[in-house]
Symmetry: C2
């Protein structure tokens, strides 16, 4: 267990920008010698006497050889990301130049940074708490409005200041109770039991809300798993492409990048959806037949939504049978009729009467939107019968409506919430353990037992709460968290 | 034809760092409104009243929504890369965040930059001449010490200041001769013909040196094409891997990157070598048999070096026959005996006596190094008989010696030259055309012809010289040059 302390006295270096060819690359150093090391190889002003937050043009020289013309940014600790001296060298974006400069500065005494080591130092030096540091990695990985929002909110303080405040109060009670223990037999009560109960109830309410928020926070961060089911050639990949097309165009046009979009991830309404490839379902005409297949079954169970794509040329009885099966799973689903132009009156009539949902082809479903605030992430039980939606994937008709229905079904339509959401499984587990410890405190508080039990459970709760914000850490925990970061952050 | 002039009054924006996940991304804006546009969306200090070359921490906000916490660097024109106002926004390296911020600033009035548009503006605003601007792209693309050095030297002024000075003197003569034309019949000579000749000789000497330097400059920039020949299973790919291994390790270890090294490009002694895949040679046991194959032949002719890999189990007569054929091509080549442990005394004796080269297995060939200064890029004719080199590719024996011999054979061993080298085919052509025009001036100068011919040829020379540095440009030329840049530079 590490309490915050002065960290390594060495100076670390890494490329902070992605590798690859670009106009510029940024090499970052942090540590007591950052400015002096760069100054040694810098042709230009004396960097050691410059103000913080200033930029200086010059050359990086290896002996007489000019490696590059660069801009050097100076940040004097504690006014920096890590609270140490930080230098950023903005170079021409050539891998050769970047390597040469990094090698040169390593020769001069810098050390290659480990993954996440800059942010680890920011944490150890008190710039960020642990949940904020974790949010930095989430922020970099964020690829949708929803995941961005969750990470940003967590990085900017999120629930950690709230938790810290409550933890401080709990610490107060813990010390009062410890004091009682010191007085041994004397049966004094420094800690008012009613006040303690009041505080615990207050903490429990917040814990409950945070734990409840995980389901939503998690899908906002990691994406909503959706299974697209249907017989072969019903148009599943045409549908995926139709859903995908607009988003793709935006990405490559604006940022000048060609992001490797995996076909079955896409962003709808700012939320990342993962369309799951269930080989079993994809290859089998009849979902009921496939239900023996264990793996397919498991995938369907993971889904937050099933999109069941049908074709007007299919047998209506079969469709109805499958809709009933899907209904029995307890997972929200949409029955989507593709190739709608081929649907004859008989097909439509029978399907609508048997499946029972309203035929949606126009009109905004917005009036039906549920606030994620009121029932964070819980799927609404009264809406599990399939809605019928008619589209033509090939002609891109009905696609917008389908998107709206998908958002409505997963109950995440409105993501413009300022609510604090937990999205990190580590935090969820710590919150749950805190809740359990506090439940034990509440169970015991009115019992005629000695204060040690109370003190022990409160300490457990403090420990778990502290793990979230990093007021309590272990080297293993830090290792686990920061090894997932990229180098240079 | 464009003379330098005030450029667009709009403000451009682009991602300046490579796309992909990294700790940070840098978005760059240039133009009169760069600072004001960013200021509009910046949560923090008033950026419009800050000093140049300062850095400011704050948020980028789209309405109330915080897109990111960023560092904003301010450069007030003309103290910037483009000589316009420039702002660099250092964001968390998430594609989503970067896109969001770029989109936001485009909504506020910025325009997505074209490829190379920042550097184009730097050129049009007189920050760089054209050959320097071209060197920026070369610098970014540089992947070896040699290509880096050529590009760096060109970016830092290279031959352009020299050319500009000579061009100015030539302009002086041109105007004197034009003046003579104005006086028509009067037979005056304002331009001293001997002085003019002296100047032209001086220019020709420099032109000649620069044109001669192209062969070396070009291979330093684009790599040395090497053909590895030999029958199947003689160990060609084992040899390539043995040559490649060390370099690779350095790349991935230091920069924390995994560069996609194409197997048949590698850097030896700071120079990029392109090992050419000649399917014909690779698949044919006998090079002589393959010589009918047109394509293979062409590839061999491109090579600056042939490495002919043989196996002690091959028929010595066949080997000797092929060595004679290779010798007849006039391209430097090395005969390399792989699996040297398998070579018996008879094989060695016969090969050495027939092929005639010295057996090199140790000892430094450095004493034999030719300075590229003295015979820039020309291959030394007296050294075309094959040297015999004995290696074991599998056991990595003799590899260092082979590297030294490769460098020696291509005559580029020493690249620590301060010589000005031309590496750009556009510059070469302009230099050659200048030379031709000046040759015509010299031919005519002593002839009893009117001054118009002289004036016209001098103007031609001025035009071509000006094309190199960009004192003369056309929109087409600029388009051709800058469209090859990456976006954001």
């Amino acid at each position: 267990m590490t309490e915050k302390s002065v960290y390594n006295s060495d100076t670390i270096i890494a490329l902070a920008t992605p590798s690859g060819i670009g106009a510029i690359g940024v090499i970052r150093l942090s540590g007591p010698d950052a400015i002096n090391l760069v100054n040694e190889v810098f042709g230009g002003k004396d960097l050691s006497i410059q103000h913080s937050h200033t930029i200086h043009f010059g050359t990086i020289k290896d002996g007489k050889q000019v490696l590059d013309e660069v801009l050097v940014s100076i940040f004097i600790g504690p006014r920096s990301y890590t609270r140490e001296n930080v230098v950023e060298i903005s170079t021409h974006g050539s891998a050769f130049i970047i390597e040469s400069i990094i090698k040169l500065l390593i020769r001069k005494g810098a050390r290659p940074a480990n993954p996440g080591e800059f942010t680890l130092r920011a944490f150890l030096n008190g710039q960020l708490d642990l949940s904020q540091a974790e949010a930095v990695a989430d922020l970099i990985a964020s690829n949708s409005q929803a995941s961005h929002q969750v990470a940003m909110q967590q990085m900017r303080g999120g629930f950690s200041s709230e938790l810290k405040h409550l933890r401080d109060q709990l610490i107060h009670f813990a010390s009062m109770i410890e004091l009682e223990l010191d007085f041994g037999e004397e049966d004094v009560e420094f800690a008012n039991r009613d006040d303690l109960k009041g505080l615990i109830y207050q903490i429990q309410r917040i814990l409950h809300r945070l734990i409840q928020s995980f389901e939503q926070g998690n899908v906002m961060k990691n994406g909503v798993p959706v299974v697209i089911a249907g017989k072969p050639n019903v148009g599943k990949s045409t549908l995926l492409n139709a859903l995908l097309n607009e988003e793709r165009a935006i990405v490559s046009e604006i940022a000048g990048t060609t992001r490797d979009t995996v076909e079955d991830h896409m962003i709808i309404g700012g939320i990342n959806f993962r369309f799951i490839d269930t080989a079993g379902i994809r290859d089998t005409e009849d979902i009921i037949e496939a239900k023996g297949v264990e793996r397919t079954h498991a995938k369907i169970k993971e889904a937050k939504l099933i999109v069941y794509l049908v074709d007007p040329e299919q047998n209506v009885d079969k469709i109805v049978e499958q809709v009933r099966y899907l209904d029995s799973l307890g997972i929200p689903f949409l029955t989507v009729v593709n190739k709608k132009d081929l649907a004859n009156a008989d097909f439509l009539e029978r399907l609508e009467s048997e499946v029972g949902g309203q035929k949606s082809e126009a009109g905004s479903p917005k009036s039906d939107v549920r606030s994620p605030k009121s029932e964070a992430g819980s799927m609404n039980d009264d809406d599990q019968t399939s809605d019928l939606i008619f589209i033509s994937a090939r002609n891109k008709e009905g696609i917008d409506l389908l998107k709206q229905e998908i958002l409505r079904k997963v109950n995440l339509h409105s993501i413009n919430t300022d609510d604090v959401l937990v999205s990190n499984i580590r935090h969820l587990e710590a919150l749950q353990k805190t809740e359990e410890s506090l439940n034990r405190v509440l169970q015991n508080i009115d019992q005629p037992i000695t204060s040690d039990f109370l003190a022990s459970d409160i300490k457990q709760a403090l420990y778990y709460l502290g793990e979230i914000t990093g007021q309590v850490t272990t080297d293993d925990l830090l290792e686990t968290i920061f090894s997932k970061f990229c180098i240079g952050k």
